[in-house]
């Protein structure tokens, strides 16, 4: 592979590139899904190819191909150079990447059980057992379950002398039920909605989730939701499950902290950010309890790796400390524009996409409020909402609205009435300013989000968020 990498790097330099890198990537995945007692999907997918990125006359060009041969690498590299020359015709300032980086290394995701070592038969058995449990509850219309396992092999080489190999491994799994009556459809999920739970590591994660043990509970709750009253409207103390705190961090901390968004580089699609550069170091993002880190080193995080796709080592970076905004997540180009070094968050969704700033594991650090039940016990009057059903936020990441699967009234420290179709809305800094309790490390989970979208062409990314249950006071809640 090193020889093929050199073909690209040499060709690029001969054709006038001041910088070039090449990534060879092979993605392999297995997906098993069941629905209402039958195996709905069983597939094995593989994609391989390479992408060449060059700087010519100070401008970027990128081209990629699924055909990994010496001749195709030469053709694609020449095409990348041609594209860069076209870029230079609509040009502002030459791209700067900061200090050169030269690293030779190999990283492998630590695993206990190889994700591809567990037979499809055994995976089907786990899912059908959970499916049967879900459908034991009368009135369930649809029961689904899935297990996905992935391996990614990457080689990164650059004209600065880096040559890095990585073998990454992931597993994801979850179950969902739907119940229907004349008032609508109700849904419950475990351990999370929209793709279940995800971690880097081995198949041990799927075993740990123990899907069958949670199947009956979510079915019973879905049935109860059908006849539950609609969530009331008001400004209330809101307690959120840790999987929803994770999504709240994702939408209202992770994305606005991306420096490419702040600089307008994603303006036409995902939008920009309210978190403009003069706010760095002084802006109050949230209450004193709010501490947020980007941490690509946390074990099992879905955004955990050895090196990003520019060859920058995985790092742990403070972003918000005691409620004050401290730093962005960056890549080499954006970091250089504010006089910093990249904190290693540049990743691409496969060989055919350019790397861009992506969340790694953006974690809300644990507090000292104990468990979810401790937080509920500490709340005289409020509402607890569990597991996301819908999300939306404006293009500067201020006004957000989340729909949730279920909510319970909190009275005198106890869970009471169940409500259907709960939702809450707010503005980012005000919301985090109202954070007054965060669960402790024993109840802190690094949730995987396998469907973060950004860029054109759209790049899906697997990211993580450490979060514990938390409470926010005076939040606008309503029933949809």
């Amino acid at each position: 592979m090193r020889d093929l990498a050199n073909v690209a790097l040499d060709t690029a330099q001969q054709k006038g590139a001041s910088y070039a890198d090449i990534r060879f990537v092979t993605d392999r995945s297995r997906n098993v899904s069941v629905k209402n007692g039958k195996v709905e999907g069983l597939s094995n997918d593989e994609s391989q190819g390479f992408g060449v990125r060059v700087i010519v006359n100070g401008a970027w060009g990128f081209s990629s191909s699924s055909l990994v041969t010496k001749a195709e690498i030469e053709r694609v590299t020449a095409e990348a150079v041609q594209i860069a020359r076209a870029s230079a015709s609509v040009f502002r300032q030459p791209v700067q990447l900061g200090q050169p980086i030269s690293i030779q290394d190999r990283y492998v995701t630590p695993v206990e059980i190889d994700v591809f070592s567990v037979s499809l038969d055994d995976q089907i058995k786990i899912l059908l057992e959970a499916d049967l449990e879900m459908r034991r509850v009368e009135g369930i219309r649809i029961a689904t379950g899935m297990i996905s396992t992935l391996k990614t092999s990457k080689v990164f080489a650059s004209t600065e002398g880096s040559y890095i190999e990585q073998e990454l491994s992931e597993a994801g799994s979850g179950i969902e039920v739907f119940a229907v009556n004349e008032d609508g459809v109700q849904k419950r999920s475990y351990p999370n909605a929209f793709g279940g739970g995800w971690e880097t590591g081995g198949f041990e994660y799927v075993y740990k989730l123990d899907l069958p043990a949670h199947a009956r509970r979510i079915s019973e709750e879905a049935i109860q939701l059908l006849t539950a009253p609609v969530c009331p409207t008001g400004d209330l103390n809101l307690v959120l499950s840790s999987n929803q705190v994770a999504l709240q961090v994702h939408e209202s901390c992770g994305h606005p902290l991306e420096l490419d968004r702040v600089m307008g580089m994603e303006a036409s699609y995902a939008g920009t950010s309210f978190l403009t550069t003069e706010k760095k170091g002084t802006f109050r993002y949230g209450s004193d309890l709010v501490n947020v880190y980007a941490d690509a080193t946390v074990p099992h995080g879905l955004g955990t790796f050895g090196y990003d796709d520019e060859g920058v080592p995985a790092q742990r970076t403070p972003l918000i400390l005691n409620g004050i905004f401290k730093d962005y997540i960056t890549d080499r180009e954006t970091a250089a524009t504010i006089g910093q070094q990249s904190n290693g968050t540049s990743r691409a969704d496969g060989w055919n996409r350019i790397p861009m700033i992506r969340m790694t594991n953006i974690n809300l650090e644990p507090g000292n409020a104990g468990s979810l039940e401790d937080i509920i016990a500490a709340t005289d009057d409020g509402i607890f909402m569990d597991t996301n059903k819908s999300w939306s936020i404006d293009d500067k990441r201020l006004n957000f609205q989340f729909g949730m699967e279920a909510a319970w009234e909190i009275k005198n420290g106890k869970r009471g009435q169940l409500y259907r179709n709960p939702a809450y809305t707010g503005m980012t800094p005000a919301f985090w300013g109202h954070c007054d309790l965060i669960g402790n490390r024993d109840h802190w989970t690094v949730w995987g989000v396998p469907n973060c979208g950004k860029g054109e062409p759209m790049q899906g990314m697997h990211v993580g968020h450490g979060a514990a249950p938390a409470r926010f006071h005076n939040i606008k809640v309503f029933g949809a």
Binding site: E46, S64, G403
Partner: protein, 450 residues
């Protein structure tokens, strides 16, 4: 892959695979893509990319057991390995009582090929895209504004063969340009989609976005609430895409999570929506993910829920239904989808629509839309890039952006006028041709700071 392989080579490659296959039924799908995209921001090109990719997907069937596998390698050994993997997986399956068969050639009618693709689009010149981006950036700079956007051109080869005799092949192209032009306090939008890159009028897009950005500066804050609205084509297309996903497919109807109540008046009599993958006003895609000819389906006829779209699987679950050729190829809860939708044009100019409103809002587009109550098509999202107050028949002032939470079906039931001009805009895969809409009521439940 830097060249078009062509019908003969592709079909032969797939037929060789069928000859090798051992399953009771086998389907092999080929996709070849050449996509080029130029992105610009802050008035310069910051990303400029090209991708050449292929895909082979195999579905193997033993009785009622189905397995699937895919690769992006085209060498015969890789294809054989993928067939073997799909067959191995199928043998591990349990029987699916709802599965009857892959579609046969009797599902098809008409000619499943299309004219030669537009070469200028298929092999897009990066300089042409840079020229388009340059025009927009220069116009923004002249107006003291900042432009960002993307200019894409894509060429595809699609083919599906199966052991029952389906052999469908198609070459297609599309090109898409969008831009947001921003000032200190307000922004404007322009967007075009066409089968040919040469038909993308980037000067018109620049004028539209710059003009709207200039009119959007210094917006006033209005209280959220119920407003009479004109939804520009961009906003209509966004809502329509979600309706297709939530309710226009047979699977959502069979699973009782669709808003479609067949035979009932659910929208304004002014609204007629159909899907037609062969209409040259759209982005033509003559067959679906199973190689079946896409039939025209009248989804909504004068406001009445008339029909939903089917693939082979959902067809077999109901008695007396025809496969309409709308397989999305996506597993899970998606099922068949209409991806080439048309909303019938009205007879009003946008100026006439504005004149008829005493107090209301002009909405250019929506951002980050998601379903809040899917079975009722209740959506939420933000306005973006040009929201204006209409007073006494005139657009008077820009307003700060709102969040809407609104049933799309109810909004389409409130339609009192449609524009005679329509825009072709992206669907989830191809394109939808839509007019602007005048709705009597539309609910905005909160506002943002800009």
């Amino acid at each position: 892959m830097s060249e078009i392989l062509g019908r003969d080579k592709v079909i032969q490659l797939l037929q060789d695979g069928l000859d090798y296959a051992k399953a009771d039924q086998t389907e092999i799908t080929f996709g070849g893509t050449r996509q080029s995209l130029t992105r610009f921001a802050n008035n310069y090109i910051h990303q400029n990319v090209n991708e050449s990719n292929t895909s082979i997907r195999v579905r193997s069937v033993f009785g009622r057991k189905i397995g699937a596998a895919s690769t992006n390698r085209l060498d015969p050994e890789a294809i054989k390995d993928t067939i073997k993997m799909a067959e191995q997986i199928a043998r591990l399956q349990v029987e699916d009582p709802d599965f009857i068969s892959l579609p046969g050639p009797d599902s098809n009618e008409g000619e499943l090929s299309f004219s030669e693709p537009d070469q200028a689009t298929y092999f897009s010149d990066p300089q042409l895209r840079a020229d388009g981006a340059g025009v927009i950036c220069r116009k923004a700079i002249e107006a003291g504004l900042t432009a960002a956007g993307a200019f894409d051109s894509t060429g595809t080869e699609q083919a599906v063969v199966n052991s029952l005799g389906i052999a469908s092949y198609y070459q297609g192209t599309s090109s898409h340009l969008n831009t947001v032009v921003m000032g200190e306090a307000g922004s404007g939008w322009g967007e075009r989609l066409s089968r040919k890159v040469g038909l993308i009028d980037y000067k018109a897009v620049a004028d539209e976005a710059v003009g709207k950005a200039l009119r959007s500066q210094s917006p006033i804050a209005l209280d959220p609430g119920e407003y009479e609205v004109i939804l520009e084509e961009y906003a209509v297309a966004e809502i329509l895409n979600y309706m297709s996903y939530l309710g226009f497919g047979a699977l959502s109807l069979q699973e009782e999570r669709s808003f479609m109540q067949l035979g009932r008046q659910i929208m304004s009599p002014l609204v007629s929506i159909y899907d037609d993958g062969h209409n040259p006003e759209g982005i033509v895609s003559p067959f679906d993910a199973e190689g079946v000819y896409r039939r025209r389906v009248n989804l909504i006829e004068k406001g009445i829920a008339n029909a939903v779209v089917y693939d082979s699987y959902t067809t077999n679950r109901e008695i007396g239904k025809h496969n309409t050729g709308h397989s999305s190829g996506i597993q899970g809860d998606v099922g068949p989808l209409p991806l080439n939708m048309f909303i019938e044009a009205g007879n009003k100019s946008k100026e006439d629509m504005i004149k008829s409103i005493k107090r209301g809002l002009w909405v250019t587009r929506f951002h980050y839309v998601n379903p809040l109550v899917p079975e009722k098509a209740v959506l939420t999202g933000m306005t973006r890039d040009g929201t204006f107050l209409i007073e006494n028949g005139e657009i008077t002032r820009p307003v700060k952006n709102f969040r809407f939470t609104q049933s799309a079906v109810e909004a389409f039931n409130e339609v009192v006028a449609l524009s005679r001009d329509r825009k072709l805009l992206p669907s989830f895969a191809f394109g939808n041709l839509v007019p602007a809409m005048h709705c009597r009521r539309f609910t905005f439940n909160s506002a943002t700071a800009f």
